[in-house]
């Protein structure tokens, strides 16, 4: 026990003095997620707001053939500008991206309208261009509204109620709560926590195996009157401590970052108060042991610091896989998912953010199974540390 403590405190001090470890463990991991999130959410809010309110410019060819339609579009905050000279020029301009969309009104538009036959308007756009697609959709919707208005007037003119055009109306009832909607967007944040947690222990895990070997400090260490298990456990304990600090920082930085996200404008109020921050820490904490053991295990197979870094960047991605699959399939918490580390923590965290009642059985299974897997992996690490080939 004393040996374990000696190893632990040495590793702790050693890594605390290493700027690179400190920067990745206590800065990059905890800050990357929140900063990225604030950025993405602010950007998407900006875009969705600009959709409705801002004036949009619409190049039109032949505006003089449809003065009423033009006035209708202007009333919808669409600013009309002169389009290219002719249709071919318009096609070229859209193809090269010089213009996003062009509306072309043929000469016969007025005549077709007077006759009551469908009056043709062309909307030229590049559907592969998502930015342009937004404008195209807006122009299309405006013209569809004009069409409906005109059609309704025609029916009224013939003494028919326009209501008969509505055989079925669909009323959508959205039962999602503001917290629930937040979970859709914030679903990925549990990955950022797991990422931060892993980053916290990454260099320590590399250092305890590949790093010590490369530096030549492993061989004298192994010639001391201590068992390799004690060395291994002390190192894993130090990695776990760094990971816990990184996780704690990451949760709190997220808590503060949320204050800078205008989520109410998107109709979301995530349940992420101080109490949730603390419970989330305890939900995620069992994963620390799994992470520390996996990283140590992977690093002990590698020959050098560089190689270990390469392999561990793959390990950083691995925990996202179950989260990603479940997000795509859109399944809800089920008892069997609680046996899978990273996935179980993710699902419980999502429920928490949605402010849904927590399933204590799920939490119990998640904590015990994750800890059990962590213990097995730690035992495997110790086994590997005992082998002769460790010295490389």
């Amino acid at each position: 026990m004393r040996t374990l403590l000696t190893v632990f405190s040495k590793e702790f001090v050693d890594n605390f003095r290493d700027r690179r470890t400190l920067a990745t463990a206590l800065l990059m991991g905890p800050l990357l997620g929140p900063v990225l999130f604030t950025f993405i959410i602010n950007l998407s809010i900006e875009r969705s707001l600009s959709d409705a309110d801002s004036a949009m410019q619409l190049p039109v060819i032949g505006a003089e053939h449809a003065p009423n339609l033009m006035r209708f579009l202007e009333s919808r905050n669409i600013e009309l500008v002169d389009g290219p000279a002719d249709r071919d020029a318009a096609l070229d301009a859209v193809k090269t991206g010089a213009l996003d969309i062009v509306v072309l009104i043929p000469v016969e538009f007025g005549e077709q309208l007077r006759e009551g036959s469908p009056a043709r308007v062309e909307l030229i756009s590049d559907q592969a261009n998502t930015e342009a697609d937004r404008d195209a959709r807006r122009a299309r919707n405006a013209m569809r509204a004009y069409n409906q208005q005109l059609a309704a007037l025609r029916l009224v003119g013939r003494g028919v109620s326009p209501i008969i055009m509505q055989a079925v109306t669909v009323d959508e009832v959205d039962v999602s709560t503001p917290s629930g909607r937040a979970a859709i967007l914030l679903g990925m944040m549990s990955y950022f926590f797991i990422f931060a947690l892993l980053m916290g222990g990454m260099y320590l895990a590399i250092d305890s195996t590949a790093g010590e070997r490369e530096r030549g400090s492993l061989e004298p260490l192994l010639s001391l009157p201590v068992t390799r298990d004690q060395l291994m456990l002390g190192k894993i304990a130090a990695a776990c401590t760094f990971m816990a600090m990184s996780l704690m920082l990451s949760l709190w930085s997220f808590f503060f970052a949320l204050k800078f996200m205008p989520l109410e404008q998107l109709g979301m109020t995530p349940n992420f108060g101080p109490l949730v921050v603390i419970s989330a820490f305890f939900i995620l904490a069992p994963f620390i042991l799994v992470g520390a053991a996996v990283m140590t295990l992977v690093a002990s197979f590698t020959k050098s610091y560089k190689e270990a870094q390469t392999w561990l960047s793959i390990v950083l991605i691995a925990p996202t896989m179950p989260i990603l699959i479940v997000s795509i399939l859109n399944v809800r918490s089920q008892i069997e998912f609680m046996f899978i580390p990273s996935l179980s923590q993710h699902l419980i965290l999502v429920d928490m953010v949605k402010n849904e009642p927590l399933n204590l059985l799920h939490i119990a299974i998640s904590v015990t199974s994750t800890l059990a897997i962590g213990a097995i992996l730690t035992w495997l690490c110790a086994r590997l540390y005992r082998r002769e080939g460790l010295l490389g």
Binding site: D14, P220, L224
Partner: protein, 242 residues
């Protein structure tokens, strides 16, 4: 007292040791001499228990290095070849870490660390982080680290590598002091003069086998060469002939 009896060790197809036997008694300096790749380091690694022999027995003060590695390690201080330090810790912290792992208690650690720092004359840089230390400074710290717990048996793998003349001399004095204290000192080298100047017993290893062992005079006599270097070459040729 270190006793090695017929140890063998292979790494895959390479037979690194093919039956090495020798004794390194207390109060004497034993030198393991041999060309590069002869098996010196492998022999020492078996002794400080990071490698297990495929066959044969080695004991430290009568303790078997395979069946009771922990107890064997308690009786040795080892300086492996190219031993590395922790760059973010000071020289003193590096030494104190090993002292703590050897099981010394807090008060003893400070005393022992101070005295070994004085003995090896590393006071000047004892409280600096070891990052950027010269090879000689690093070797001294690594040596201090290996000796901090006063081991009865001292195993040094090419300790004079990278040391300047002054440092080599002070290392030589230290080895002689350890010998006078009644310790068992076993060290490897490929430098003839060093071994000749220091060792009571010389064990020449070549090709994973002991070519010849005994005192310097013994070896000169048995090979029929007056010069120790010629004796060394003759002994090695004897092994490579079979």
């Amino acid at each position: 007292m270190i006793v090695v009896n017929d140890i063998h060790k292979s790494f895959g197809k390479v037979r690194a040791l093919r039956g090495v036997s020798f004794d390194a008694p207390d109060g004497r300096v034993t030198g393991l001499l041999g060309p590069n790749g002869a098996g010196k380091s492998t022999t020492l690694r078996v002794l400080y228990t990071v490698l297990k022999p495929d066959q044969g027995v080695a004991t430290i003060d009568g303790v078997d290095v395979v069946s009771d590695g922990l107890a064997a390690r308690r009786r040795i201080g080892a300086l492996p070849h190219g031993a590395g330090l922790y760059p973010h810790l000071s020289a003193r912290e590096n030494i104190a870490y090993y002292a703590a792992l050897c099981g010394l208690d807090k008060a003893t650690i400070d005393d022992k660390v101070d005295s070994i720092i004085g003995l090896l004359e590393i006071d000047d840089f004892a409280d600096r982080r070891t990052k950027g230390f010269s090879q000689g400074q690093r070797t001294k710290v690594a040596l201090a680290r290996a000796l901090v717990h006063d081991p009865q048996n001292v195993i040094l793998d090419e300790p004079t590598n990278g040391l300047d003349v002054m440092a080599t001399r002070s290392l030589r004095d230290l080895i002689l002091k350890l010998k006078d204290d009644g310790r068992c000192v076993l060290f490897s080298s490929h430098v003839m003069q060093e071994v000749a100047a220091l060792c009571d017993d010389i064990c020449i290893i070549a090709n994973g086998k002991v070519a010849i062992d005994g005192s310097a005079d013994d070896i000169r006599e048995r090979t029929g060469c007056d010069d120790l270097e010629d004796a060394f070459v003759a002994a090695i040729q004897m092994v490579e002939a079979d």
